[in-house]
Symmetry: C2
Subunit: 206 residues, 2 copies
Amino acid sequence: MSPKVSKEHKEQRRANILEAAKDVFIEHGYEQTTMKHIMDAANVSRGGLYQYFSNKEDVYEAILEEMLGTSMDRTEEVLKSEDPSYWEYLLRCLYGPDMEPDNKMDPLASPSLEFFITGRNDPRRRKYAKTRYYNGLKLFTDVIEQGKISGEFTTSFESEMIARTIISFTDGLALDQAIITKEDVKIKEQSILFIEYLRTILGVKQ
Amino acid sequence: MSPKVSKEHKEQRRANILEAAKDVFIEHGYEQTTMKHIMDAANVSRGGLYQYFSNKEDVYEAILEEMLGTSMDRTEEVLKSEDPSYWEYLLRCLYGPDMEPDNKMDPLASPSLEFFITGRNDPRRRKYAKTRYYNGLKLFTDVIEQGKISGEFTTSFESEMIARTIISFTDGLALDQAIITKEDVKIKEQSILFIEYLRTILGVKQ
DNA sequence: TTGCAAAACGACACCGATGTCGATATAATA
DNA sequence: TATTATATCGACATCGGTGTCGTTTTGCAA
């Protein structure tokens, strides 16, 4: 009845495997990585790996769950900060605490997009894609809505529609950087231009 | 020495296979379709298919070549029309002759994005992705540049950077519609908002 | 017709990845 | 130290897809 191996140890092991798997996915992408790759990276045998995850999709879903969780946490945190400007909230959600776009995006973005797009005919995968999309949509819509109420944004466009364009643009940037490479896509410069766009379309009062 | 089967016949057969393959790719996506699927759809045997194409990648590249070709032709055509407004040129390049965004995108967009992103570590595939990107970039940059020269666009932003955001936004929209589905992404409404954005960022004089 | 080169066929061998399973190692408890 | 549940191992059978190859069919040309 009593456990022969501590629960913490098991969770630790699982976390280690996930950590290693993440690196493999970043390097090879979703489709190209095999369970063998993960086994090697995590120093675990075939049987050992299958003890924790029943297949590759299962592994990636675990990584996704974690991502979706922490991204929600982070933005919650941002929104709870005492800064009163919704415009800054928005920039923080997009570009982190220092509100400065840089040249690279989340390295897990491209394997994830790959996971979503190759599984677009699979209800299970699509569910993850939708969750991710609607999480982002809700967050941005809320912030814009709040900004309107507070009088900081004077736009007459629908908050939700602006939120959608934010997501589409961000996704497009991630996609282009994945298939073309960073240097060629000029993420930073595009982001700066996009901020300018947002500023005008939202009618930000300074 | 002389051919036993006319060259036209052979080209016709090849074209038929490609036609069928295109439908299969649209239905199953790139990764999920197998040579067997294509064989069945095109009513050709295994050996027969391999007579024309040496593998799946080869088939898809043929489709891509065709796409890249016709898209260049079409935009060439648009640019050669006698209409003097560069703003309208731009809208036509984006949304076709009637300049009205609709709710759906090219059905081959998602298999192509899949082809590009799953092959992002393969130089061969990346070359296709780059060609596609830079074709679009050149087109939009040229049009915007012309519009500036003619005085129709008064923006002080770099033409190339605006062109890049056009591509990123368009790609993002295609991606989102692929992984989420049309109805949920509201492509038309987003496009209308995007046109508004373009109008302001370009400083279009009416 | 007949001859023949190319096109079309489909059986087959191959391969790499998968998930299972019986054997073994491990570590907590008695 | 002995017991025992379970974590770990890796060999193995399986499977689906691939590309080849020897055979058959086709249709133009002599």
